[in-house]
Subunit: 157 residues, 2 copies
């Protein structure tokens, strides 16, 4: 009999976690759709393009194509096509890697850096608007739960 009583909170936790998951899924998809729309309308660009320049902005000496692919696993873009278009737009350049004739490093131009800053500022604003009812403390608390918890941290490793 005790077993039945003990199981109630567990069952509750299962249900609540499932509800939370469905809401998380809906929320992230809605925000992503909104970001996609905003990037297209305000910068004539896409999320994967933004992800590439964001990654490059963190590495002054640039990244190899394979390293960019690692970043883009997330946004599922076609790296070569994206890099080609960003080069056409003057946002990045390719340079040879000393000692490795076949490898190329890609890095942002000054114009690319400026463009990234403009887009990053807008992006931060859109996110802040989307999650606008969360105070800094609330956001941090939720973040802590996601950071500590769950197997997906291990999945990533």
């Amino acid at each position: 009999m005790n077993e039945t009583i003990a199981q109630i909170p567990l069952e509750n936790a299962k249900k609540e976690r499932l509800r939370l998951w469905l809401r998380m899924l809906k929320t992230t998809r809605s925000i992503e759709a909104k970001l996609r729309e905003n990037f297209r309308e305000e910068f004539a660009t896409t999320l994967p393009r933004f992800d590439v320049i964001a990654a490059l902005s963190r590495f002054e000496s640039g990244l190899k194509m394979s390293e960019i692919s690692g970043v883009l696993k997330v946004s599922n873009g076609n790296v070569t096509g994206i890099v080609d278009r960003l080069a056409d737009d003057g946002f990045l350049v390719r340079a040879a890697v000393p000692g490795d004739r076949r490898a190329q490093r890609v890095r942002l131009t000054v114009r690319g850096q400026e463009e990234f800053l403009r887009q990053a500022r807008a992006h931060e604003g859109w996110i802040s608007e989307a999650l606008g009812d969360l105070s800094a403390t609330e956001a941090r608390n939720i973040l802590t739960h996601f950071s500590v918890s769950n197997l997906m941290a291990e999945e990533d490793a």
Copy 2:
């Protein structure tokens, strides 16, 4: 000068929301990847297929193809192909709509209902494992924040 001081918490909130967003994105993608893998390995099925039978399980009299498409906007599947395969597997049947010769309703068979229950139970377990460090109360609290907050609720409408 007061302006500078007043802006600090606002800037903090922006940063925290952005960090939360990046974590949410990473978390939902990792969980989705894990679900995809589990559905494939344990049920030889896909997320969109599960979404279709889950939707049908809520409507005893079935759904029209266009109504299923509405559900699948989320998972981006090809409705006709999915329904065809689920029919081949004996999980659903198509029936004419009285008074509308060209419309068809799709509904689960008994076998389809049983399959849905098996998959739903497993799905709930996987989610519970993925979010395993959240108690029922914590999950409910986070859920409340997502429900109250943000423009995406309006986006959906």
